[in-house]
């Protein structure tokens, strides 16, 4: 067995390779750095940054009472979003003019990132950016880090008791003492570790006032907040970030917001102020003469005669590494080796709390949206449940509080369910309403409206590291490449390349291993190294999709099906380089809502050599293991955020190894693609691929560039173009995106092919009156006030195009308004899309339309529902923006929930039984004639 066969070995190899990439960079880095490097993130120069601040930061040394300037930088920080943040939301932070980072490690989050020299530290701190005193003051004690080395410094003697932080010119005398910040009493577990030459502890103070001393060691010997456990699991790294500044002084990072929902100890919420603290590490400003040291303690006086390097030399050090150089032997997990590099500590990220660095901080005020569970806390009434599409979740998360916080309205719950399932359940009437984004598989047999509710789209998200170690920000994909990924046509591994299904029958040529090796992919996306894909393994040969049926898969396969190039390839025509479709998928009928896994090849020799697959009964086809669709889309988005490959290709440890998902990919060696929603891509900062709208040909000519092909990224403009093309389907009663017109029509060139129109299916007959009114209310809201872009309650977040006349979606909103009236009235009517609907000018009187013209009864109710839904709308912004902080505790009475069955059935049965028994007894006793004596 070659080492490559064992997945564990392969991962190890990939780690080595990751380390090797910076080595190469380090060698060629000096030359390369002169040339302009494309910005790591397109948001770096975002003109619409929510926060920008510029400050001049200086490092000085106090020599003979005179401050000598060592280094001075003018640093600008900009943040793309600071308002109404939600838990797990990702914001982009970028900066210019900072000191270039050295000693770069692969993972820039805590605890390892702190070891870097001159990082830009990003952390969440509880407190208000404007507070100068009081309990809202931001101090290092209220800043969140997860691990001990980020808060605890100890000098075992390497610095002779005078590590740089004790020589800090800006620190108070008390802060320069030998032992600072130790809890009293010292936790019993920590006592053995506190006998050192000098130490400085920064405890963490939780939102409820609890003080966590941390303490040295992994895990810390003292207590740490319960949330500070994530750093040990590989799934979700800490959000404390030690951002890398390039040699040109610029840098950017994506920062993961955590609110009280997942980090109660830090406790950030709409009522507890928090800030993002940005500390560009400049190094310690030194006062080697010790003029600030506490007097009267001979042991604390700096020794005068020593052999170099003296503590003052080490304090004044400008670092161990060159700018941009990697740290080739970073500290191992949990063992950061304090002082291992004596000349490094003074400029390391670990000393973010020392006065010289702390005074350089830039505080970015943040505000938070109401927590997503606000409705479950606030509402006591039974919620109105709408089932279906995950692709509307971003919107319903912000719509739900609008409904539940308004006492005149109702609680709204969005139950995630695969759209085709929800759709058929509405028709069977086992649920009342469903969100979907595809026409029903067969037209509804009962009157059910499909009311357009939101415009969004699917996103092919990716995380691909380029040759220079940066994250790729733009990717071009055409329909044929997507078809190749879905149809298991990449054999993934040299050991499984023998799969006869993935082989050109005429030439005998084998298909490329994965997408990075595909000449077509290389032509459209030049410069992506195949080595990264090889390290990332399975995830570069497949597209991570949802296992259940979904409207997004229906839309994606509709798009592929309408592309002549992709369709011809699916039908068996090799691509210009001879790659063929996996024969099991040849001629597949599209579109489909649920992608089938059809490959059958079981690599016997490969499995026999594997420690885990060899023990599996009936081993599964390898490429189906590679594809491994995932059941929940929220998990899929999380996986994409943290580069977790779901392909079941690794072996677990233990005595009986079992096949397990590959898991997190190594930082610096990620190559993963997935299908999720535009709103998740925006919320979690996942880059989205541009899809080919037009161009390409079925001719058998090889190409080396994407010239002649148009690629469209999901933007408001491209979604608008797609909406403009939407056609009414009078038969199915829906609005559809005409995929073939998209490929050929002039308007289709600018339209994003992944656009989804999410509709609400509600019956217009058979609903209870009160329930029908609520649904009508919801639809009226979705057709009007709900379509405002923003992060507040009752608005739609990024990733949704507001469905308004200004965006060319007036026809859709008008249809929904009419549908809302019909739902409220329960008149059994379904308005015909595109027919007899009032134009935007007359949309205030839906009753005049022929679609619902006969329903005179619905007119008053529709205007009434329009009125009630309209009235809270202007006031939505008011309670939302003012409620944080000043929402007086209000008494919510417990709602009455009763059940006649529960209360009356048993007594009734008992009563009836007794009555019948009495009748029977009477009958028995009274009506029998006696025998005459």
């Amino acid at each position: 067995m070659t080492p490559k066969r064992s997945a564990r070995n392969r991962r190890l190899a990939s780690v080595v390779l990751v380390a090797a990439v910076p080595v190469l960079l380090g060698v060629t880095g000096v030359a390369a750095s002169a040339s302009p490097v494309p910005a790591a993130s397109p948001q770096a120069a975002a003109p619409n940054a929510a926060f920008t601040k510029t400050e001049t930061l200086t490092r000085t040394n106090l020599v003979n009472g005179v401050n000598q300037v060592v280094d001075s930088n003018t640093v600008s920080v900009s943040v793309n979003q600071t308002q109404d943040l939600r838990n797990r939301q990702v914001i982009d932070v970028s900066w210019t003019g900072a000191h270039p980072t050295g000693g770069i490690v692969p993972q820039d989050t805590g605890p390892f990132g702190g070891e870097q020299e001159y990082p830009v530290v990003l952390m969440m701190c509880r407190g208000s950016a404007s507070a100068t005193s009081g309990k809202n003051l931001i101090t290092p004690e209220t800043c969140w880090t997860e691990t001990s080395p980020e808060r605890i410094q100890q000098d075992p003697g390497t610095f002779l008791g005078f590590p740089p932080y004790r020589l800090d010119e800006h620190a108070s005398a008390a802060d320069r003492a030998q032992n600072v910040g130790l809890p009293n009493p010292v936790p019993a577990n920590c006592k053995p570790f506190t006998v050192v030459a000098a130490q400085h502890w920064v405890p963490f103070i939780a939102a409820n006032g609890t003080v966590y001393p941390y303490g040295p060691g992994t895990p810390p010997c003292g207590s740490a907040p319960p949330e500070a456990t994530n750093s040990e699991s590989t799934e979700q790294p800490s959000n404390t970030t030690y951002g890398v500044t390039g040699t040109n002084g610029d840098g950017s990072s994506r920062f993961d917001i955590t609110t009280a929902e997942t980090n109660a100890s830090l406790g950030c919420s709409d009522t507890v102020a928090c800030s993002l603290v940005v500390i560009p590490i400049m190094g310690i400003s030194c006062d080697p003469a010790g003029s600030g040291l506490p007097p009267g303690n001979p042991a604390d006086l700096l020794p005068t005669s020593m052999t170099p390097p003296t503590p003052s030399d080490l304090c004044e050090s400008t670092g161990h590494f060159k700018a941009g150089a990697p740290d080739l032997s970073p500290s191992q997990n949990g063992n950061p080796g304090f002082g291992a590099l004596q000349d490094s500590l003074a400029v390391q990220g670990y000393l973010w709390w020392s006065a010289s660095n702390w005074r350089n901080r830039i505080q970015v005020p943040l505000t938070f949206a109401q927590p997503s569970n606000i409705c479950s806390l606030e509402s006591t009434s039974a919620p109105l449940q709408i089932f279906g599409s995950y692709y509307l979740l971003g919107a319903t998360q912000q719509w739900a509080p609008h409904f539940c916080l308004n006492k005149k309205l109702f609680a709204l719950t969005h139950v995630i369910q695969p759209e085709p399932e929800a759709q058929s359940e509405v028709e069977q009437r086992s649920i009342d309403a469903a969100f979907e984004a595809e026409p029903p598989s067969s037209a509804f047999t009962s009157p059910i409206v499909q009311a357009p509710t939101a415009v969004s789209g699917f996103a092919i998200v990716f995380d691909i590291v380029t040759a220079d170690g940066q994250q790729l920000t733009s990717l071009h994909l055409d329909a044929r490449l997507l078809a190749k990924l879905l149809t298991e046509s990449y054999p993934e591994d040299t050991d499984t390349q023998a799969d006869p299904a993935d082989r050109n029958r005429t030439t005998g040529q084998m298909n490329p291993l994965d997408i990075a090796f595909d000449p077509e992919f290389q032509a459209l996306n030049p410069g992506i190294p195949t080595s990264i894909a090889t390290q990332a393994l399975a995830s570069s040969a497949t597209l991570l999709v949802q296992s259940a049926g979904s409207s997004a898969m229906w839309a994606l396969t509709s798009y592929i099906n309408a592309d002549p190039e992709a369709r011809a390839w699916l039908n068996g025509q090799p691509d210009p380089w001879g790659m063929v479709v996996n024969v099991n998928y040849k001629g597949i009928q599209l579109p489909v809502s649920q992608w089938p896994l059809l490959d059958t090849y079981v690599p016997k020799a490969f499995y026999t050599a594997s420690p885990c697959f060899s023990t599996v009964q009936n081993p599964p086809p390898w490429l189906n293991q590679v594809a491994s669709p995932i059941d929940s889309l929220s998990t899929l988005s999380l996986d994409m955020q943290f580069d977790v490959s779901d392909s079941v290709v690794s072996c677990s440890g233990g005595t009986v190894p079992a096949p397990v998902p590959f898991g997190p990919e190594s930082p610096g060696a990620t190559f993963i693609l997935g299908l999720t929603s535009l709103s998740d891509a925006d919320e979690f900062g996942l880059p989205v691929a541009s899809l080919e709208s037009q161009g390409g040909s079925t001719l058998d000519t090889q190409f080396t560039t994407g010239a002649g092909r148009t690629f469209v990224a999901p933007t408001d403009a491209s979604l608008r173009s797609a909406v403009a093309m939407m056609q009414p389907d009078t038969g199915a009663g829906s609005w559809d995106l005409p995929y073939s017109a998209l490929r050929t029509g002039a308007a289709g060139k600018e339209a994003y092919p992944g656009t989804l129109l999410i509709s609400t299916d509600v019956p217009t007959t058979g609903l209870k009156k009160s329930v029908a009114q609520d649904y009508g209310e919801f639809l009226s809201f979705a057709a009007g006030p709900g379509q405002r872009a923003g992060n507040g309650n009752g608005e739609v977040p990024a990733g949704y195009l507001p469905m308004t006349a200004a965006n060319g979606a007036g026809k859709l909103a008008d249809y929904t308004k009419v549908a809302a009236a019909d739902v409220t009235a329960q008149n059994g009517k379904v308005p015909t899309p595109g027919q007899g609907l009032p134009g935007p000018a007359t949309s205030h009187s839906p009753g005049t339309s022929s679609g619902s013209g006969g329903s005179s009864a619905s007119q008053p109710s529709s205007s009434a529902s329009g009125g009630t839904s309209g009235s809270p709308a202007p006031s939505t912004s008011a309670p939302v923006t003012t409620s944080p902080g000043q929402a007086a505790p209000k008494l919510v009475p417990t709602a009455l929930v009763r059940s006649a069955i529960a209360g009356d059935l048993l007594p009734l049965v008992l009563l009836v039984a007794l009555v019948i028994a009495t009748i029977g007894f009477a009958f028995w006793q009274l009506r029998r004639p006696t025998v005459p004596k």
């Binding site: 479950s376 009475p893 929930v897 529960a902 039984a913 019948i916 029977g920």
Partner: protein, 327 residues
């Protein structure tokens, strides 16, 4: 008396040529004679019943016995069912906690034991299962799947029945603020202090009162003559974490629940099985009626009673699951 003298009157009627009803009536008659034979004739002797009357009488007896059985099962016998389930769940939970395989997050299979709760003050000591539909609550208190597990940050809701199936939450209304509830899960032992018991109209505690981790018992109650056996509205008891550290909440909890999991909801899914049990009961009756004409009384009782009780038990259990989940 031997089997023979019972058999005689039946054997004399030309073996099965008569309609069943008539034969049953004769059987009835013969029983009456047999019973009254040793008794003195102080009371006037009654004439045998006509077949039609015998059928009516049998129907009223059956209907009232069935009704009383239904009530008896709901209030008393279903407790045996729950007790048995709790016994098994308790062993399973102990083993899983010991092995650290008990669920602590993600999507937990319905009916899996997740925690043990005990409140000495109201004699509560039960294993909590995942899910709050009627079926799960028939084996003990159930944890609402859309809420965190006890001990985790947030409000954890546990539903329990107050009248049927052992009524594990039958005395929740008697909780008073300050009483401690002990909860044991995979993640540790937690002590919750009761802050209130509230019915319709009583104020919901504020977020501050709930604290970082809280527990809400949801059950039903009835007032006046209903209390204890015919509850018709929902009451809640809230408790806040008083001892033990808040543990982390693993991701992947469902964010919504099916309708059958809501308070006092009925689970019509159970309706599917009911016809089969009713069919079984009908077949059993037919079989017994047939046997009655051929077997001796003693044979009939020995075979018939256990079979009837078994079918009746299963069918009643299935029908009971159609009752609202908190009753």
């Amino acid at each position: 008396m031997t089997a023979h003298d019972v058999r005689e009157p039946v054997g004399s009627d030309a073996a099965g040529s008569l309609p069943v009803a008539t034969r049953l009536a004769r059987r009835w008659r013969s029983v009456q004679w047999r019973k009254e034979r040793p008794v003195s004739t102080a009371r006037p002797e009654r004439l045998p019943l006509s077949p039609a009357r015998a059928v009516i009488l049998a129907a009223t007896v059956t209907a009232s016995v069935l009704g009383l059985w239904f009530v008896l099962y709901g209030l008393a016998l279903s407790g045996l069912q729950e007790g048995h389930a709790q016994h098994l769940l308790s062993a399973q939970l102990r083993q899983e906690i010991a092995e650290e395989t008990a669920p602590s997050g993600g999507k937990i299979a319905l009916g899996k034991p997740v925690a043990r709760i005990s409140a000495v003050a109201i004699g509560l000591n039960a294993v909590v299962v995942e899910g709050t539909a009627s079926a799960q609550l028939s084996s003990g208190p159930g944890h609402l799947p859309s809420t965190p597990l006890p001990g985790q940050a947030g409000n954890s809701q546990i539903y329990g029945r107050s009248a049927m199936y052992g009524a594990p939450f039958g005395r929740v209304h008697a909780l008073v603020p300050g009483v401690m509830i002990k909860v044991t899960t995979e993640q540790g032992v937690f002590g919750y202090r009761v802050i209130d018991v509230r019915g319709p109209g009583n104020p919901v505690p504020s977020a501050a009162q709930f604290g970082k981790s809280s527990l809400t018992f949801v059950t039903s109650a009835g007032s006046g003559w209903r209390s204890g056996w015919a509850p018709n509205y929902v009451i809640y008891a809230d408790a806040t974490l008083a001892s033990g550290k808040v543990v982390s909440t693993p991701s992947g909890r469902p964010n919504a629940i099916p309708a059958a999991d809501k308070p006092l909801a009925t689970d019509t899914d159970q309706l599917v099985l009911l016809p089969y049990f009713v069919l079984a009961a009908v077949l059993l009756c037919a079989g017994l009626a047939w046997a009655a004409t051929r077997w001796t009384m003693r044979q009939l009782w020995i075979v018939g009673v256990p079979a009837a009780v078994a079918v009746l038990w299963i069918a009643t259990n299935s029908a009971m699951l159609l009752m609202p989940n908190l009753a």
